[in-house]
Every structure is written in C-alpha cells, then in structure tokens.
C-alpha cells in the first residue's frame, strides 16, 4: 500500500517538476544563443531571492497572483473560463477605493467594509456574465472579455476622472488617483509577524496584510470544494453537467453561483495595492487577472498547487528586476520561462493523466478477470 501511495505521489509531482526542469533547460539555450551566461543569470536570481527583503517582495507579488489564480480556478472547476478577473478586480478596486474614502468607521469595520465592497462588486460583475450565459447563451469567454473592456477603457477611465482627488495625494508626489482612504481603512503590514521568525526587515519593505486574507481564501476554497455538498455539486457539475442535472444539481444555477464566487475572489486581487497605498491610482498594477489564469493552470486549480504556482511566478517577476540591474541577462528571459513552464506543464499533466488512466484500466481489467468480490 505504501508502495502504491508513493507511486501516486511520484506521478503527481512528476509533472510540475518536469515542467520546471524543461523550462530551465530551454531558457538556458535561449540565454546561450543571446550571448548570456545562464549559470550567472540563475545565480543572480537565486542569490537575490535568498535575501529577506526580496522574499517580502515575492510574497507581496504572490498574494494578488494567488487570489487571481483561485478566482480563475473556481471557474475552471465548473468548466467556466472566467477571463474577466482582470476587469472584475479593477472595477472592485476603484469602487472599494472610492466608497472606502467616503465613510468613517472604526478600524476593523472600515477594513471589513472595504473588503466586502470589493468582493460584492467583483462577484456581481462576474455573476452578470453567468446570468448572460444561462439566460441568453452568451459564452462566458466572450462576455467577460467584453466586460473587461467595459471596465478598463470605460468605467475605470471615467471614474478615475470623476473621483479624482484634488491636488497631489502621495508623499512622493506626482501621482493621480482617487481620494485616499483614512488610515483606519488600511490593513497594517505584517512585518511584526514575520520578524518573530527572522531578523528585522530592511529597505522599508512591508509584507502585505492581505497575505492573511489570501491564506484564508485558500483554506475556505479547499474546505468548500472538497468537504461540502456544495463543493461536490460544483465539481460534479463542472465535470458532467447532464449527469449532475440528473443527480439533482441544477446546471444553470451552478453556473451563476460559480461565476459569482469567482468574481468575489477576483474582487480581492486589487486589495494588496489598495491596502498599501489607500487609493486607486491612474496606473494600477494590471494584468494580474490574466496571469492568474496561467497560475491556476500551473497549480491544477488545487488550493496548495495554485499557491506554489503563484510563488513561482512571483519569484520570476521579482527576479526580472535583478537581472536588469546585474546585467547577467535580459529581463525578458523570465517571460520566456513563464511561457515555457506553462506549456510544458500542460503537456506533462496530460502525459501523467494518460499514464494513470492506463494503469487504472489495467487494474480494473485484472479485477474483472479475477472474478466476483475480488480483493477488497
């Protein structure tokens, strides 16, 4: 039995490991062709990442990527392709920033208010795509892409002007954005928590408090998906909607619920930035929604897998900066690595799936021939 278990674990981890190894090999070839020394580049990346301050950067980057990945993963579990995470989080970001600045509340309530607004806006906006799908048959890929455009070049562009704060709003000056939220509405950094285990964090780096929110989202996602009847309904309906309908799971309702939940989590993606700066800037950190799709893909929609994938992507993003500074290689190499990892991961997962399927079929055939009530 332990033999069989270790075999399964080996199979499960083979795919992502193979993906990373192949990505490193291919990137090395690209680096060699472009005249750089791959070993030097990798050494720079690893050395940089071994510093505490860099690790804070990685976690700050991984937090929104994780939330975005989970948002995409919820959709994928239901066989829905929510490409609209990008628009959903930006809309949630700007509305939460604006409303958060309008109210005065005690600290805990203020933060909760902002998070709830963000989740509600993201959920409603994504849920709308779900409603369109079940009532009008509009494919969610099309509707969410179009809704992205509605947000990015429509609502957000309009409201940033409408809700613009007078004068300069940041200490460094020069940035334009919505009116800043009072300090009571900002989640404090969790450097203190981190420093319990390590030394003091330098360079003014702050570990985002949204990390705790993201961890909570991951745990809730895992528990709901795997331990509740609702999660079973969601997975079943995603895997086979007609059989699930026969099994008492209304497919249309599940589509709307899944889209709404996906958007709800998407609404939190922009909170890392909002809780840090307190306003929606004219140039918010973007593309997190699209990267989330890749993160979910690499992490197999699994709560822990998505976390690892988010860390891998965050590591690569943060490394691109040091490559530029050290000059060991072009920073674009990390984009190539990301692409190759995704491609090889998809292929490797499929190969592993086929191997597993074949093994199962052989075992089942064996049981059939062995006759009634075989080893149980």
């Amino acid at each position: 039995m332990t033999d069989r278990l270790s075999h399964r674990v080996l199979l499960a981890s083979a795919a992502p490991v193979a993906a990373v190894v192949i990505a490193v090999v291919l990137s090395s070839i690209v680096l060699l062709i472009s005249g750089s020394n791959p070993l030097a580049a990798y050494w720079d990346m690893v050395e940089h990442a071994s510093k505490l301050e860099t690790q804070v950067d990685i976690f700050n980057r991984a937090t929104p990527l994780y939330l975005s990945g989970v948002a995409a993963a919820i959709g994928f579990r239901m066989n829905l392709f929510n490409i609209g995470v990008e628009g959903q989080y930006l809309l949630a970001f700007i509305v939460a920033a604006h409303l958060g600045a309008q109210v005065e509340l005690p600290s805990v309530l203020h933060v909760a208010f902002i998070l709830v607004v963000a989740m509600a806006v993201g959920g409603a906006f994504s849920g709308a795509a779900g409603v369109l799908k079940v009532t009008r048959g509009v494919n969610e890929v099309i509707s969410t892409i179009m809704l992205n455009a509605v947000v990015i070049s429509g609502l957000a562009a309009w409201w940033i002007v409408e809700w613009q704060a007078g004068g300069e709003i940041s200490a460094t000056g020069g940035r334009v954005g919505t009116e800043p939220i009072a300090d009571s509405g900002l989640l404090p950094d969790i450097n203190g928590l981190l420093e319990l285990f390590t030394r003091e964090v330098g360079q003014g780096k702050k570990l985002t408090g949204v990390l705790i929110v993201a961890l909570a989202v991951g745990i809730v996602y895992h528990v709901i998906l795997n331990r509740t009847v609702f999660g079973f309904d969601l997975r079943a309906s995603g895997a086979n909607p007609t059989a699930s309908h026969v099994g008492g799971i209304p497919p249309k309702r599940m589509v709307v619920i899944a889209m709404t939940l996906s958007g709800t989590v998407a609404g939190l993606v922009g909170m890392t930035e909002l809780m840090d700066t307190g306003y929606y800037p004219s140039n918010p950190i973007s593309l997190l929604g699209f990267t989330g799709i890749a993160v979910a893909l690499l992490g197999r929609n699994h709560p822990a897998g998505v976390a690892v994938a988010a860390l891998v992507f965050a590591f690569l993003d943060v490394s691109s900066g040091i490559l530029q500074i050290s000059g060991a290689a072009s920073r674009e190499i990390v984009e190539i690595m990301k692409g190759v990892i995704i491609l090889t991961a998809v292929i490797a997962y499929e190969v592993v799936r086929r191997i597993r399927e074949r093994e199962e079929a052989a075992a089942a055939a064996a049981a059939m021939a062995a006759g009634p009530a075989a080893d149980s």
Partner: protein, 508 residues
C-alpha cells in the same frame, strides 16, 4: 487461398490478468466474421493486437498468409487493416471530406492540400463500396449513423481491405442498423473482409458468415450462424445456462406510489411529445413502457425525473404532488433513476467510484451530514455496492472510466438500489451490457420489487419488457395506446402494437 487473417496462440497478459489466452482465429478472405463474448472476454484486447495498438506476449499473426510483427496502427493500415472504433474520432467542425483526408492529405506544391484529388478519391471509394455521403456536410450536422459511415469511409480511403468494426451497432437506432448492415453487405460484395465485434446476438446471426465466441480470454468455438440459435450463442458466451428475465409471482399491492395524470409535454411546433399520458404505478409493481424509440418515452422520463418541466397535467409521488419540484427534491423523496446513457447522464467518469456512488444522493446520509460531505460514509457505501452488486474493480479509488460498461451499469443500479428508493425509473437499464451483468440487473430489480419497489421500466428489449413487467403499456407518438398483459403477449405482437399496426388505425 490463404485466409485473410490467421491468429495462432495469441496470448496477452496484463498485470494480474490474462486478457487473451492462446487464442486461435481464422478469418477467410471476403467474409463477415463476428467475434462475440461478454464484456471482458478479451474481444477488445484481441482487436487492439490485430490493429497494432498492443503487441501480443506470445503467438503469431498472419495477414494474407504472411507472418507479420505488428507494433503500430500505422503499420496495420499499411497492411490494409482498418479499424472503426466504438466512439467516433471525428472533428465536428470540419466537413466530411476534411475528416476523411485528415492525416492522409493529398498534397500539392508548397504544402497546399489538394482537395480536388481528395474529393476524387473519396468519390471513387464511395462508388466502389456503395457508400453514399455528401462530402461537404459539416460532421456536426450528421446523424450518428452517417458519422459512422464517415468513419468507415475514412478507413477505406486509406486502402483497408480488412475492416474491424468495434460494436458498431451499440450507438445506432434500428433503422440505422439496417442501413449499416446493407453497407456491410456491399462492402463484402466488393471483396472486403469484415471483423465484426458485437454482443447483440440477433444481429450477429443476421449479418455474420462465421461467428467466433470468446470467453474469459479463450476461444470457445467457431460456428456458422445457420447451425446455432441466439440461445446457443449466449450459453457459449457465459458458459452456463442462460438467465431469462422472469418476474415470478406478482407482488403488486394496491398502494399507488407514482401517479401521472393527463401529462402533456409540448415539443417543437404544435404536436405534443407527451400527450395526455395517465399512469399509475403501485408498490411492488413493474410497469413496462414499450415503444419504438422517439415516441415520447425519453420526454416522459425526463418530466418524471424533473429534468424537463411538463406543460400540463400532474405527477404525484407517494401522495405528494411534484409536478414542478426540483430534481433534488424528488430524489430526496425516494425517486431512483437509472438513466439510458450512463456516460452522459449517470457517471462522473473522471471521479472515483466512491464519489460516483454519491451522485444524486449527496444531500442524504450517509453521504453527507448537513452541508458537510462524509467521505467515510461515501467510501463505506461504495464498498457495500462493490460487494453486494458484484462490481468488478480493484478498489473503490479508481475512476469510473476504468470500469467496463457492465460494471459501470452495476455501479449505477447499486447506487440507486442502496438508497432504498420507493419508485425506480429504469430507462433501458441493460442496454449495451453483457449477458451476465444483464441478469444481475434483472435480479436486483426483481429483488427490490418483492420489497415493495414501484418500477417504471422503459426498454427496447422486448424479452426484458415481457419477462419483467406486471403490465406493459405501449407508447406511440406521445400517447399511451395500449395496455397489455405480458403473460399473453409475444414479442411479435408487441412489435405490432409499437408500430401501430395492431391498433387497426394504421400509421398516418
């Protein structure tokens, strides 16, 4: 002349099982040779070996008298062997022509595809074998029978002289089966050798020139269809006396479990697909619904289960009206359902067996408690179903697609029976499964009936309907047109009712 195919001593082992054990098979040039056997008898393995998908562990393969060492389908195709799989492998969004030439495209200069040459070759093939198809139709617009024809043409296009058909009739309606058989006879007339895998014995007897029966990986015997009856063949397949559906003594009570009153489901246009149907099923009773497929049985079942909403009339389950209730509500009240298409409507193929045993009952104990799933409860039930319903599987952790069709069906029947339903809707419960599994399903239904289960049995198998039902009703064009006593009716008479011939009114 040497035979088209000669297999000698073919043996193939999988871990822990001998799938083919010293198999001998000789197929003469230009004959239709049927291979029969229960699910798991080794038919598919044998065909995969012949098609180069798996190498045998021992034995020799001779094609047209030449010994060959097959190790890939490409090589088999080169030798003139083509295979049409049970599940079609066509691209829906491409035309017939594009599908046929896919992977064997005639090329022009600069890597362009020569569609004209492809079309010409396709026409030749169509003419030579009497296969009629419009090359420019999109595959997604084709009926199942036409898709199958495309698959056959695809194989012939590649020059196959030996054609392997893996359960070709499993997906077809009777009219399409006739059409297929016409095509097969024309193929034979033009010199093609056909290996035909099937376990519907009437069909085998109708089409085959020679029949080889496999059982548990061995060749049981090779016979000519005029020397045997379907009964003989079935006994060869299972190796013992053939089970017959037999209801036994009546257990019908006067307690109504399911009542359908003046039910109407509108179809496209004016005509109702279910038209003024009224029916009562009592506890301990099996009501069989006979009818040619497409006469409203599927829609009636969908309305009862709650997948479609009826337009008029009412459905009452155990005294409570459920006409517009949700599927889940009905299931929680004790409605069991064995769907017709187990892959589409019955299983989550990528999920484990224990998760599959919860589908449809996931809101009930022991599968869950309140909003929380109980994995222990699910596994427990799954183990019980595996033992009680003889689901042959290494363990309950494998995914459902690893099981053979018969075992998948036993799992579904077990799942519904273990939940202790008051009413069971059994929609073609034994379609596409082998004789042994069929008998097991019959036993399960009979056993539950004696404990008071009310069953609505929809089936195309007339022997099954007559053998199991307490009463048979005939459905024609959405209406119930006759109510018959199974003790007094023969399959032939029942068939006459199903087509409307026996009603005196004829068909319009």
């Amino acid at each position: 002349m040497s035979p088209a195919i000669e297999l000698t001593g073919i043996t193939k082992r999988f871990p822990g099982v001998v799938a083919n054990d010293d198999i001998h098979l000789e197929v003469a040039e230009g004959e239709i040779h049927a291979i029969c056997g229960e699910n798991g008898a080794g038919k598919s393995t044998l065909m995969k070996i012949l098609y180069g998908m798996q190498p045998p562990d021992a034995g020799t393969i001779k094609i047209q008298g030449e010994e060959v060492d097959l190790h890939s389908p490409a090589q088999a195709i080169e030798l003139g062997i083509g295979m049409v799989h049970q599940h079609f492998m066509l691209a829906d969004q491409l035309t017939v022509l594009e599908n046929v030439i896919l992977g064997a495209e005639p090329m022009r200069s600069f890597g362009r595809i020569d569609f004209d040459a492809g079309q010409e070759h396709l026409d030749e093939v169509g003419r030579a074998y009497g296969l009629d198809i419009n090359a420019n139709d999109l595959v997604e617009t084709l009926e199942v029978g036409e898709r199958q024809r495309v698959e056959i043409i695809k194989v012939l296009y590649r020059g196959a002289k030996i054609l392997i058909l893996d359960e070709p009739t499993a997906v077809l309606v009777p009219q399409e089966v006739d059409e297929l058989f016409r095509n097969i006879r024309e193929l034979k007339a033009s010199g093609t050798t056909i290996l035909f895998i099937d376990h519907k014995l009437d069909e085998v007897l109708e089409i085959a020139d020679t029949i080889t029966v496999l059982r548990q990986g061995r060749t049981v015997g090779t016979v000519k269809p005029d020397q045997v009856t379907a009964h003989d063949l079935a006994e060869m397949m299972i190796g013992s006396e053939l089970p017959v559906p037999d209801a036994g003594a009546s257990t019908v009570t006067d307690e109504v479990a399911l009542e359908i009153a003046a039910l109407r489901v509108a179809g496209e246009g004016d005509r109702a697909v279910v038209d003024d149907v009224s029916l009562r099923v009592h506890r301990g009773e099996i009501i069989g619904i006979a009818g040619v497929e497409g006469n409203g049985q599927a829609e009636l079942v969908n309305a009862i289960v709650g997948i479609d909403d009826p337009d008029e009339g009412s459905i009452t389950l155990l005294g409570q009206e459920i006409t517009h209730q949700s599927v889940r509500h009905r299931r929680e009240m004790g409605l069991g359902y064995v769907p017709q298409d187990r892959h589409r409507d019955g299983l989550l193929l990528g999920f484990t067996l224990w998760e599959n045993t919860a589908l449809g009952h996931q809101t009930e104990e022991p599968y869950s408690r309140g909003p929380w799933l109980s994995r222990a409860g699910m596994r427990d039930r799954a183990s019980r179903i595996k033992t009680d319903f003889d689901v042959r599987t290494p363990n309950i952790e494998v995914s459902a697609h690893a099981l053979s069709g018969g075992n998948q069906q036993k799992l579904i029947v077990g799942r519904e029976m273990v939940a202790g339903p008051a009413v069971l809707i059994a929609n073609h419960p034994t379609r596409g499964i082998d004789v042994g599994a069929q008998a097991a399903v019959w036993d399960d239904i009979r056993e539950a009936r004696s404990q008071g289960l009310a069953t609505l049995l929809v089936s195309a198998d007339l022997d099954e309907l007559i053998g199991l039902s307490d009463t048979i009703v005939v459905m024609l064009r959405g209406r119930l047109v006759a109510r018959l006593d199974p003790n007094e009716i023969t399959p032939r008479d029942l068939g006459a009712y199903m087509t409307g011939a026996a009603l005196g009114t004829g068909t319009p």
